[in-house]
Each structure stands twice: as C-alpha cells, then as structure tokens.
C-alpha cells in the first residue's frame, strides 16, 4: 500500500504530462482546430433605413436618413452636419460656434415639403437652437427630381444637441449630434 498508491499517482501524472506536452501546439491553426474559430461580425452590405410616421417618430444619429410617410406622400429625409465655425476663444477650446445644417428631401411619392419652421433644436442644457434658413426657407421635393435641400444655421455650444423635424406639428424624426469645438 505504501508503494502502491504513489505508483498509481505517478502513472496518472506521467500520462497528464505526456498529453499536455504532446497535444498542445500553439500556432493559430492548431488553436482554431482545437477551440474553434471566433466568429467575425460583418456589417450588412447596405445599412437599413428606418421608417417614420406621425405615430412612430424616429431618433437618429445626425446623417442617418429616414423614410418618412406624411399625409399625401413619402420621402427619404436626412439632416447632415453640423459644419461648425468655432467662435474665437483666448482661453482654450471655444465653448460655442456657428453651425450649419443641411436637410435633404427626396420624395418617393407625392410632394413633400420641409420648411425651416418645421425644424427646432435644443441642447443638453435645455437651450433652444435658433434656426435660421440660408437661402430658400422651404425644400420641396417631387418624385424623380434631384433631392431638395434646405440649409439652416444656429449658434451651438460645445456638447450634445438635437434637431427635430415636425410635419404639420407632429414630430417625425429627431437627429442627435455632438458639437465638437476643439
């Protein structure tokens, strides 16, 4: 007994050592063969476009389009920007600047109009963004024509903010963005 138990233990240990030393090549192919390939997250070839109507408004990142259905028509609408011109600041990164936004409207059916007065903005301090049109105050789009554009500007502070588009008073989509001034 005094010799038998250790001998059995030794057999087991030798077996373990032998298996470990001989069966664990660590090159990538061997690891994959032993443990499997880690699946790779591929992005969809075409990003899906969200849909919105008065009953289902959407929250979007600035730049994302939305397929909106409004009374009498439908259009793909997106807001791009902001293109910011920081205000001069003598004491480090500026805290505010002038921002320009571009609204693009491409009607798929009917005639769809987006006016500057349909847009409103607010920042993370609760301050309203005073949006002023640059050029035509309304973008009117019809199917088959080039997308109509509307440019608006506002003073923005460093931080987060949002632009909301309403149609006939009903919120359709809200685009969020960060104003980076450094």
């Amino acid at each position: 007994m005094r010799n038998g138990v250790p001998a059995l233990t030794l057999v087991v240990l030798l077996g373990l050592a032998g298996c470990s030393a001989g069966a664990a090549p660590d090159d990538a192919a061997s690891v994959v063969a032993r443990l499997g390939a880690v699946p790779i997250p591929t992005a969809p070839a075409v990003a899906p476009v969200e849909r919105a109507d008065a009953a289902h408004p959407q929250v979007l990142a600035m730049g994302e389009p939305v397929d909106a259905t409004v009374p009498g028509g439908a259009a793909r609408v997106s807001v791009l920007g902001p293109e910011i011109t920081p205000a001069p600041s003598p004491t480090g990164p500026p805290e505010q600047g002038s921002a320009a936004f571009t609204v693009q409207v491409a009607a798929g059916s009917g005639t769809v109009a987006v006016a500057a007065t349909d847009l409103s903005g607010r920042d993370d301090h609760g301050r309203a963004l005073v949006l002023t049109s640059m050029g035509p105050a309304t973008a009117v789009s019809v199917p088959g024509a080039a997308p109509a554009t509307l440019r608006v500007t506002a003073e923005v502070h460093a931080g987060a903010a949002q632009i909301t588009w309403r149609h006939a008073g009903a919120a359709m989509a809200l685009w969020t963005f960060n104003a980076e001034l450094d």
């Binding site: 240990l13 090159d27 990538a28 443990l35 699946p39 969200e50 979007l60 920007g81």
Partner: protein, 478 residues
C-alpha cells in the same frame, strides 16, 4: 512503475513528483492555451491586444440606441463584452491619453488639449509616480510609458495612427508623429484636421513622452495605419493590414488611433469618412461605425487574433459627461463663459471611478466639465472587448477607468518590475486597490469559440422602435 517507486527513497519520489507536476504545469501554461493563468488574477494567456480608441462620447450616446451606430452599439457587444462602467479620467482629450499610457494625472495644459506643443515644466518628481507639471505637455525622458515597459519585456508593439504623414511636413511620420520640436517656445496650435490629413497629435499618445520620441527604434513602431511607401532615406513602412498577415508580423500590442473623423470626434469630417462617397462627410458615431466595420473584421480574420487575440474599443472621455449611475454633489462655477455657471440638470454630471485621485497638478481632474457637475474624472464612456476568452453578449458592471486599463495591460504582458508600486505599474496604475480586468472580463477561460449572442440582448435601448412590444421583455442575465 511500482518497481520504479519501490527503488526510490520517499524524498526522491516526492522530488520526482514535484518535477512531474512542474512539467505538467509548464505544458498547461504554454501561450495560447486557454486554461492558463499568470498568477495575477483570472487572466488567460491573451497574447495579442488591439486597443482602438474613439473620442468624446458618453455611454448613453454610444450604447443605448440614442444614436443608430448599429455596429458599435448592437453588433460588437453581441460578439463580446460590454463594460457598462468604463470611465475616462479627465477632460479634454489629451489628459486621458497620458493617463492611459503613462499613469500620469491631468495637468493644466494637457487637460486643455495643449494649445502649444511644448515641454512640460518643472517636470520634477512627485509622490505616487507622478510628475509636477504646471505648464507644458511633453514629459521628460525620465517619465516612462507602457511602450518603454513593453520594450523592456521584449513585447513587440506598434501605434497605428490613421492619416499620419498624409501631408508632408505637417507632422513627422518617421518621428512618432510629433508636430514639431517641443523645446523652447514649442509649437503653437498643433495642426487640427484638414481634408487631406485628419491626423491630430493629441490623439496619438507617443508625441507626448520624450521616453518614446527620443528613441528612434520606438518611433519606428509609430506608423500610419495604412503604412508608407519607400521614400528617400526611409524604407517602406508596413501598415496594419500587412502586419496582420501572419502571427509573426503582428505586434503583440497594437494601439490604433483613428483620425479625427473615424474616431467620432468631428461632427462633420474635414475629409474622407470611409463611406466611399466623396460628398459624404458625416462624422460622429456614424463615421466611427464605418471605421469599425472595416477594421474589426480585418483584425479578427488575422491568425494572431484567432489564436489568442483581444480587441478593445474604448473612448477617451464622456462628452458631454452624462451620468449613468450616481450623481455628483456640486455645480462647477468656473467656466469662462458666465452663462454656463448655472445649476444644471442633475441628470448630467461627471462621476469619477475607482477612487481616482487628482494628482499634484490639478485640484480636480475633469474640472472643465462643460458647465456640468464636477466630481473628478472623465465620465462613463463604456467599452467593448472581443476575444475567444470572452463570452459573446456578456456584460460587466465592474467600474474601471484608464488607470485600470494600464494596470491590466501591464499585467497581461508580464511587466513585473518598477513603476510606482515596484510591481510594474506606472503612476496611478499602481494605486492601492485598483482593480485590473478580472474574471468578469475574461469570462470564457476555456477559450472555446462561442457563437454571437442575439443582437439586442445586451442592453435594452433607451429609445423604442416601431417593432418593440408595448411592454419590453428584458432577457434574464446569463
């Protein structure tokens, strides 16, 4: 075998047993073998790390559906781990990069993004491995970084900086990406992004430490993301894609600084945002998604990643610093713009993590918190990690910050000596009780590849879609 044991004395038998056990142990801790531990907590033998650093987003902006950056918000967490309480250490950008690779706390100019690229002064030693800095930003050669530690540990590393060197003479791609000479009066207003070159030095950790920039061999490791063709006096430089081709050519540690567009910094990019549309300059998380969709699969398809890799997507700071948990106690009243010095919505605040100390140079890191509440720190950004040692779709609510990241990286690559604690941890990475990534992060120790979790199981979005049920069904935690 009984005969062998019978001919041995008990002490010789015990010695043989110990030797065999040691041999078995050595076999088990061979690199790439998942069950292995390094003796410093539950850390598997991750052999290759890629850290991708993005810019200036709060956790809520990135990971709750407030923005439809689907790839980062939905897809990547379903393949890995979402760290819901990962924190920055300061505001603005640069102090975070310095904390990450040097363990140094914010100082007046680097938390102002260094309006002048100039040597730090007086740069004398302080407690806890810190350095006294009242002005300037470039640390002296006596201040080590993670990269110097990796050199000593013979761990190959590289920094890949997108766009670096695109415009000749603007920054030096053969000299760590420095924007000029920091001696004397230094370089006022280091360049910001342009249409052709969206590299900015403040998002590259190398230029801010003489311990790196003064070493030509180290600067050979700081390369443009897409490499460089051969030029007079300079051989061609490999970029990320070429280095990923084989395990041998892949550095064990890779730091990736996307340009000022792809890192989500600029709301409207000055140049290309990788959309393929020359008229599309949309930035923010939209652009970061485009970058990640390209680079993450590229890394994950590499032999080095499939063997023992870990991808980390982190942010430097939360901007604006929304709170997720807890709240601070006071409103900051020191903004230059007086209108910001008003009590703010209590839902927006900076909260610090991990007993972050201010260090010798500022009363409160993160003090310039955009008129928000101001407990120390950089706010909650969140982070995503992907590895075969991580269970897809898992979550950690353990608080970590950039100092935790540094400590974890030092541990992962076997740095054991020096630092502020004598145990290999630089600056505040050596703070007593600071927790490195543990079993909550490396939660699949077998390394067995697992399928992705269904998208959307990680978090319930902050915003609803038209397809959501009226009463959301929240899956039970795993």
């Amino acid at each position: 075998m009984a005969g062998i044991a019978g001919r041995m004395t008990r002490s010789r038998f015990v010695a043989l047993l110990i030797a065999l056990l040691a041999a078995a142990g050595l076999a088990v801790v061979a690199p790439g073998v998942a069950q292995a531990r390094d003796g410093r907590g539950d850390v598997p033998r991750v052999g290759h790390v890629w850290t991708i650093i993005l810019e200036n987003k709060s956790y809520e902006a990135t990971f709750t559906g407030l923005n439809q950056n689907d790839y980062l918000w939905k897809t990547l967490p379903s393949y890995g781990l979402l760290l819901r309480q990962y924190y920055g250490t300061g505001h603005f950008s640069l102090d975070n990069y310095i904390s990450l690779v040097g363990g140094q706390s914010p100082a007046p100019d680097n938390q102002n993004d260094c309006p002048t690229y100039v040597d730090a002064k007086p740069a004398t030693k302080a407690a806890d491995g810190q350095v006294n800095v009242s002005s300037g930003c470039v640390y002296p050669a006596s201040v080590p970084t993670l990269f110097n530690q990796l050199d000593q540990a013979r761990v190959p590393w590289k920094i890949y900086a997108q766009d670096m060197g695109n415009t000749p003479g603007r920054e030096d791609p053969y000299h760590c990406g420095i924007p000029g000479n920091p001696a004397g009066a230094g370089v006022p207003d280091p360049p910001s992004a342009t249409a052709q070159d969206q590299y900015v030095a403040k998002h590259n950790p190398a230029p801010w430490f003489h311990s790196v920039t003064d070493n030509p061999n180290d600067c050979k490791n700081v390369v443009p993301l897409d490499g460089l063709p051969a030029a007079t006096g300079h051989p061609a430089v490999n970029g990320l894609a070429q280095d990923l081709a084989s395990e041998k050519s892949t550095p064990q540690f890779s730091w990736i600084s996307p340009n000022n567009c792809s890192d989500a910094h600029d709301a409207t990019c000055k140049g290309d945002n990788l959309s393929g549309d020359p008229n599309n300059h949309q930035g923010g998380l939209y652009a970061a998604d485009l970058f990640l969709e390209k680079v993450v699969p590229q890394i994950m398809a590499s032999p080095a990643f499939q063997k023992d890799g870990l991808i980390q997507v982190i942010f430097d700071e939360a901007f604006p610093p929304y709170k997720m948990y807890g709240n601070s106690i006071a409103d900051f009243a020191g903004n230059a713009t007086a209108s910001l010095n008003v009590p703010t919505d209590v839902s927006q605040s900076v909260v610090a993590c991990c007993n972050e100390l201010p260090g010798p140079n500022t009363a409160q890191p993160g003090f310039q918190a955009f008129g928000q509440d101001t407990t120390p720190g950089g706010g909650i950004t969140g982070a995503v990690f992907i590895s075969r040692y991580i269970t897809p779709g898992s979550i950690s609510d353990q608080p970590y910050n950039h100092y935790s990241w540094l400590r974890s990286t030092e541990d992962l690559f076997g740095v054991r000596k020096g630092g502020s604690d004598g145990d290999g941890h630089l600056g505040f990475a050596g703070a007593d009780g600071l927790r490195p990534f543990g079993a909550d992060v490396y939660n699949n120790p077998s390394g067995k590849a697992l399928p992705p979790a269904p998208s959307g199981t990680v978090v319930y979005p902050a915003t609803a879609s038209s397809d959501d049920p009226a009463v959301p069904a929240v899956p039970a935690p795993k």
